[in-house]
Amino acid sequence: MAVAEAVKGTVTPDARFFNEVASRAGGENLGRCYACGTCTVSCPIFEIKPEYNPRRIIRMIVLGMKKELMRSEIFWSCVNCYTCFERCPQDVRFTTVVHALKNIAVREGRARGTAPRSPAYVMADCFMESVRLHGRMWESELMVRLWLKLRDPARVLSFVKLGLRMFLKGRVEMVPSRVKGMEDITRIFRAVAARAAAGGGKP
């Protein structure tokens, strides 16, 4: 949903939102922001998609616009280039602030039995499912899972051009490679799921 659409109507600020983000791993320095906009002008996504505006996202957190920000899902557009993180004069670490926002969205979604709709979340979910099963990410499986979940034939067609060439050049792994110590991987995923279900623990 577009940000403008998400903020339509009366805003009901959530006074706890700022602390909720700032108390999470990666969000600790949020309060240092003095709104200079270095993050925004450094952002390669903002450059082509002005709707994704890091400074505006920080303001929305400060103003408690949780409902609007979460509804827009705009923060899933971050590509993790870490340019804003590197350049921020106040060390706000916006890239990891985005991680905190994503973690909140995923956890609250799971508590309600839903999930973020953004393709970037679907991608992360399919990716982690592959890692949960094999301990390693199997690229071919990831792509098939993603396509099945997004149900968008245009994406598959668009990928044929590259995928076919890569296949012919032997760059497509046909069988997954698997970790021997899968009990470690299973334990890690179970612990994370259990903590999320309990809704507690320092994130």
Partner: protein, 292 residues
């Protein structure tokens, strides 16, 4: 000498030619990459979006493997794997309670003393440049190349002991050591859009297209990269991005190790240059001295 080595999922899958060429190059220095037994996926940027603790636990498990502790240093080819491991390591060093939770969760001690090193940093900073120059058999005199670092080989510098994040020099140094003409390239630290390739492809192609456009404008014969995700994303953009006149780009996107290998006298097949999607034939001919 054996170097403990973490390949990561992409190098193991879609980007074997990166490892092939790295092995050839290192063999000239009497060095061998030794894959760490039973490594797991680092979680890339995806784990961080799902759950912070998961994004630390996955790389942390790799830091409990016996070979890693024995070696004291892991070499990585993938920028993202390297950044993810360095981030987790730094976070555990800064927060002993996080480290303690990881020790407990994995059931073994996580070794945060291990150095996590990208191959470009190892070759450009930990080795003597003269050693590289000495191995050059066919200097790439006729090859014009733009150095492309991408994002996370040097960012965030708070976690990574690499180059200067804004003015890196390692690729330029290596490429000039092997005799290539290194062109100035303003997009060298800009994002290729690889992360968005499967989710917001228009964004990825626009970002990749900007890199290809500047490289062509500069008169480059190829783009040298250090990351498997950048390589694939730029090859995808090569197939789909269009310049102002509507034509696509045909600049080879090569790993810096493939260029080093050519200069060291290895054949294109040994370096996996036939596996690149954008043809590298003209480039290989330039190195061989055939006018193209």
């Amino acid at each position: 000498m054996k170097l403990a080595y973490y390949p990561g999922c992409s190098v193991h899958g879609s980007s074997r030619e990166y490892e092939m060429s790295a092995r050839k190059v290192l063999s000239r220095f009497g060095m061998e990459l030794e894959e760490i037994e039973d490594w797991n996926c680092c979680g890339a940027v995806e784990a961080a979006g799902v759950d912070h603790e998961l994004s630390v636990a996955l790389p942390a498990r790799n830091l409990t493997l016996p070979k890693v502790t024995e070696a004291g240093r892991i070499i990585m080819l993938c920028s993202a794997c390297q950044a993810v491991h360095n981030k987790a390591r730094s976070e555990m060093l800064a927060d002993p309670s996080l480290k303690g939770r990881m020790d407990g969760l994995i059931g073994r001690k996580v070794n945060t003393d291990v150095e996590i090193r990208h191959l470009i940093h190892y070759l450009a900073s930990d080795m003597d440049r003269n050693e590289i120059r000495k191995q050059v058999k066919k200097p790439l005199t006729h090859v014009k190349v733009v150095p492309y670092y991408g994002c996370v080989v040097n960012r965030p510098s708070r976690f990574i002991n690499g180059d200067d994040p804004d003015n890196p020099t390692s690729l330029e140094n290596i490429l000039s050591d092997i005799g290539a003409q290194v062109l100035s390239f303003s997009h060298r630290n800009r994002c290729c859009g690889g992360t968005a390739m499967l989710t917001e492809e228009d964004v990825a192609i626009t970002l990749g297209g900007k890199i290809l456009a500047e490289a062509r404008e500069a008169g480059a014969h190829c783009i040298a990269t250090v990351c498997p995700l950048c390589q694939v994303a730029l090859e995808n953009a090569s197939l789909k991005a269009r310049d102002a006149s509507g034509s696509s780009y045909d600049l080879p996107i090569v790993y810096f190790t493939q260029l080093m290998g050519l200069a060291f006298g290895f054949g294109p097949g040994e370096l996996g240059l036939g596996r690149n999607v954008v043809s590298t034939r003209v480039l290989v001919e330039k190195v061989a001295g055939v006018p193209a």
